[in-house]
Symmetry: C2
Subunit: 305 residues, 2 copies
């Protein structure tokens, strides 16, 4: 079952050079998670043939417009499509009020239940959990309250080798095998050793989304060893001072975080509109952390298990 | 000096078939007026190479999202561009509050003065006037308070024929000629007849923007004889009942209004997302009013004087 990230927009602040504002679509085992929602996100989703009716959870990192101005439009379009499924929003205080006010003035009573889940931006907390995944907030350091999101697949079951299943296995035996346990007799003796009937569990994959933030080593422990880290890189390092002043990071700083956190792969984006050519971002980051790629609209990053 | 209308978006409700939501840019003698501002309008303005710093007046017909969800993004981008020129918004009650709240949560103190001019949607009133143009509201009938906008050039001066200017003409004589008056001697006798020295004034052009509205003959007197009428046509006439229920109009109804108001040209748009092919809108309207054109993104309509 897939774990893939689609880039819908990767520019910062204002759109430029046909680069849209920030939005990403993460699909984990057929469940869609929309992360941030800059203006025009619904157009991007349409462009990439995503059925927006499948999106049930939307995560907003902070209330700068380039991360959420597209949300009200998306919510409205879901209503016009006569959606009936619940939609869950996760975002900082204030988001619910903004959405509610805009629905009110347009006389809109949504066709579906909309749930606001207010995030405390001060400390890491689990904001979502189902049988496959947990989602934790990552407090970041920005001009206004801002969090990242850490998506982690839960541990997976041992994989039973079908050809080796014995007729006498009960359902409880099968559960035990999936849990990695041996099958024991009434007296507690091992009858069947787990390793003879199963393969080890597939890897539990993880993705950390960190935008927007000043260089902040405080996040390293929390994101340690994730398969994929998205870290904002608004500037190149010749503008490190500007980055610090505006509570943003450089490509080099993003790579330093990736290196310290020993992540599998680094994805950078949130490019300032001052840069037409973004290839220097990759060059700069790769000098510190080789496995760095650029967030490019329309591209999909797959994480294998 | 030009009088031209650029179509930035002409779809209703939700974007579809690469058709954006409603927005138009009217340029009158080098002054830019933005009319409605659906999501993605700033992207469209960028796409068509409009310098958004030149926009000083934005008119919002009503608070349905497809007409204003792009406004906050545009306002923010102007700020990020370090604009210092005043920006004037004209819209129904509630608009100012929505914009103000979003600026507040993002911690944005705009780099330029933003003025909210609240419109009374109940009766026609002049909301803007300078030395070249007046702009009046046109009360429409929609599900929520909604107005159209009537742009009228003021009467223009008589055009003095340079070759015929006499040495003895004073500045006051020139003013008299431009005003269409004869030049008289101290005893009140006509010395120079205006018609010998001037050409008649150029035509004062006019544009009426009417979206969204149910079929409403009450607007006919106000828009009588305008050069160009934009009238919404959300549906074809086989869905007239649906149009009435949703306070929208059909292409045929738009054409009926154009005919009764004896306008020069009819422009229709605000197509429902249910229609992929919009050519039947023109066919239907032309059966009632021949000089009908379709609002198509990126196209410009020029009105000659």
């Amino acid at each position: 079952m897939g774990f893939e990230l689609k880039i819908l927009g990767a520019n910062s602040a204002k759109p430029a050079y046909n680069r849209n504002q920030t939005s990403q679509l993460l699909t984990v085992q057929n469940e869609l998670f929309l992360i941030d929602c800059g203006e025009g996100t619904q157009l991007q989703l349409g462009h990439y043939k995503t059925k927006i009716s499948r999106i049930r959870h939307i995560f907003i990192s902070h209330l700068h417009g380039d991360h959420f101005f597209g949300l009200i439009g998306l919510i409205s379009t879901m209503h016009l499509q006569r959606r009936t499924t619940d939609l869950n929003l996760y975002g900082p205080p204030g988001l619910g009020e903004i959405i509610t006010m805009q629905l009110k003035v347009s006389g809109t009573v949504l066709s579906y239940p909309l749930h606001f889940n207010e995030i405390n931006p001060q400390k890491p907390s689990c904001v979502f959990e189902n049988d496959k995944i947990t989602i934790q907030t990552i407090p970041l350091i920005h001009r206004i309250p801002c969090v990242g999101f850490l998506f982690r697949e839960k541990p997976k079951p041992h994989r039973i080798i079908k050809e080796k299943i014995q007729k006498e296995f009960s359902l409880l035996d099968m559960v035990a095998l999936k849990n990695g346990e041996d099958i024991k007799g009434e007296n507690g003796d091992i009858i069947y050793k787990n390793g003879d009937f199963t393969l080890p569990p597939k890897k539990s994959r993880s993705y950390a989304y960190c935008s927007d933030t000043r260089y902040h080593e405080g996040i390293v422990d929390q994101i340690k060893g994730v398969d994929l880290l998205y870290h904002e890189a608004t500037f190149l390092s010749d503008r490190e001072q500007r980055a610090t002043e505006t509570f943003h990071a450089t490509a080099q700083q993003a790579a330093l975080i990736a290196k310290k956190a020993e992540v599998g792969k680094l994805l950078i984006g949130h490019y300032s509109s001052r840069y037409k050519d973004i290839t220097p971002f990759q060059t700069e980051a790769q000098q510190v952390f080789e496995n760095t790629i650029l967030a490019i609209e329309g591209e999909t990053i797959y994480i294998e298990d």
